[in-house]
Amino acid sequence: MSTVSGTSILTGRQGLSGRLSDFFWRNPKILLLLMLTPPLLWLGVIYLGALFALLLQSFFSIDDFSGLINYEFTFATYKQLLIPSNFDIILRTVLMAVLVTLASAIIAFPIAYYAARYARGKWKVIFYLGVMLPLWSSYLVKIYAWKLILAKEGILTWFLAKLNLLWLLDAWLALPVVGGTSLSISYTGTFIVFIYVWMPFMILPIQASLERVQGNLIEASADLGGKPSQTFRYVLFPLALPGIIAGSIFTFSLTLGDYIIPQIIGSSRLFIGQAVYAQQGTAGNIPLAAAFSIVPIVIMGLYLWMAKRQGAFDAL
């Protein structure tokens, strides 16, 4: 028989670091506090503070003659949002954001489904690289690249000409609203580039939510008599919905706020982001710029509230 020997309490590390780790072990809440304070300060003061200042600005107005800000509490600036030329901007942006979000979800779902259910090992790596790689290059470079692709003398026109499908492009461009003289200066072009640029933000959350759907739930649905379309409708889609909502929050809010893509690719009609940019810059109308910035925040708030009411987060 061997006997167990040795001390039962080990001598701790000496010095300050040793005593400090013992202290934190006994008081984990202090450690948590130390770790959370800097980011919370940053978030609270810099981020929320700035947001609050913005909100405040929107309740001021601008004096039409002097161009100076009138620091009196008023809803006049918000009323300006409702005049047709400004309201069109809001409508246009929201409509674009809705369409971009829907199209992104439809395109992203099969890709995410493949990655979550079938891709293994090497193919999973290739999937992640394929989805993330575009994020590594500059946003501006990508957009200018798209301008070249979509331009009248661009590769897309050339390719369609090779396929003898130029008539299709011409027919599309002849349509009102979505058409134009070329794709790069039409709403269609703006739409395509938005989808391309935001795609990773839609694919990754959907993939993450599908990854958590156990394979045997799909088998169980089939086992109980569910045809593939029913399995998708009653099992897969509801369980992927939190991911789709998360992705749509990205694509929707990013589209609502973007001012570069519609500037470079699209007709010259303004989007909210461009309006904010113009109002706070050249026009010097900070209150109106602030009021415009509040619009996406309110819309996102409404969107999340509706999503929650529809039970989008129940499967979370």
């Binding site: 156990q214 045997n216 739930l217 088998e219 169980a220 089939a222 086992d223 109980l224 045809k227 129940d314």
Partner: protein, 331 residues
């Protein structure tokens, strides 16, 4: 009538022969167990019946109809999954009614049927809860109700009791058995627990390496194991090496001898051998003693009325010749 028929069925995954030329015929209304260690092919056989896997060779019939190429949703066969696979976003009632919903049964009717099924598994009134709010045993019952509400012709159970604690497991074993008797549905049950298979099944198929080692009644499989693997896996039989068996005056074959067939001392008509005690433990109802005799290790269940022999002591043990069961193979 034959409920499930396998003719030379194989399911190979590349070089891995998960199921290899299996023949079996499960009768209607039978409680059939597929027993084996993990990786022995029993679950793949079950998945072949459910339609989640397609055979790479052979022929499968379910109630006389060819099953190859028939998707799971067109088979009147339902499965109780190992980890239950309840839909987390649906209430218990919606889970149970799922099969009827996808078949287009009217809402009032299917909810009523689901309530009845929940009552049958002794969970009435649990319908509004979510799967996450139930215990393992309750979830198991919901999975059972969800399958049975569809009135399947064959119910497949994939280690349904594996995640339950001992007491609950024993209770569920009895309930499953009586449920099967009252419904008359063919049950095909996969398990790695030989006690479960022995106590519940009408017939057992013992699997190893993708093949059926033995197919028979629980008594057959337990008392008359065909191979060393079966003797080893089913129950705690002693597997006696050929030399030892020959030394006792039998043929030179492997043989199995159950520990409870061995007694202390000698008697008329008994075969006796002596061995040195290497381990002894008191189990309450009996003493379990392991001896080393002629190079073989033999376990015996001895009456608890005799005190536990000491380690190192040499004792004489005996058994009746008819309790020794000769097996295939001399290697």
């Amino acid at each position: 009538m034959t409920a499930v028929l396998f003719q030379q069925v194989s399911r190979h995954f590349g070089a891995v022969r998960a199921v290899d030329s299996v023949d079996l015929a499960i009768a209607e209304g039978e409680f059939f167990a597929m027993l084996g260690p993990s990786g022995s092919g029993k679950t793949t056989c079950l998945r072949l019946m459910a339609g989640f896997e397609q055979p790479t060779g052979g022929h499968i019939e379910i109630f006389g109809e060819t099953a190859e190429g028939v998707p799971p949703y067109r088979r009147n066969v339902n499965t109780v999954f190992q980890d239950y696979a309840l839909f987390p976003h649906l209430s218990i009632l919606e889970n149970v009614a799922y099969g009827l919903m996808v078949k287009g049964v009217a809402k009032a009717e299917r909810l009523k049927a689901a309530e009845e099924a929940l009552a049958m598994v002794k969970l009435p009134g649990y319908g509004t809860r979510r799967p996450g709010q139930l215990s393992g045993g309750q979830r198991q019952r919901v999975a059972l109700a969800r399958a049975l509400v569809n009135r399947p012709r064959v119910l497949l159970l994939d280690e349904p009791l594996g995640a339950l604690d001992l007491k609950l497991r024993e209770q569920m074993q009895e309930e499953l058995k009586s449920l099967q008797k009252s419904l008359g549905i063919t049950f095909v049950f996969v398990t790695h627990d030989q006690g479960e298979a022995l106590s519940m099944a009408d017939r057992i198929a013992v699997f190893s390496d993708g093949k059926i080692q033995q197919l028979g009644t629980p008594e057959d499989v337990y008392k008359r194991p065909k191979t060393r693997f079966v003797a080893d896996f089913v129950g705690s039989s002693n597997v006696l090496p050929p030399d030892f068996v020959e030394g006792l005056g039998f043929g030179k074959h492997y043989a199995s001898l159950r520990p409870e067939a061995i007694d202390l001392g000698d008697g008329p008509g008994r075969k006796q051998f002596s061995g040195r005690v290497t381990a002894a433990s008191f189990l309450g109802a009996a003493n379990r003693v392991t001896v080393e005799a002629n190079g073989a290790r033999v376990a015996a269940m001895l009456s608890a009325s005799i005190s536990v022999p000491a380690q190192g002591e040499t004792i004489t043990l005996s058994f009746l010749p008819q309790d020794l069961h000769m097996m295939d193979g001399t290697q």
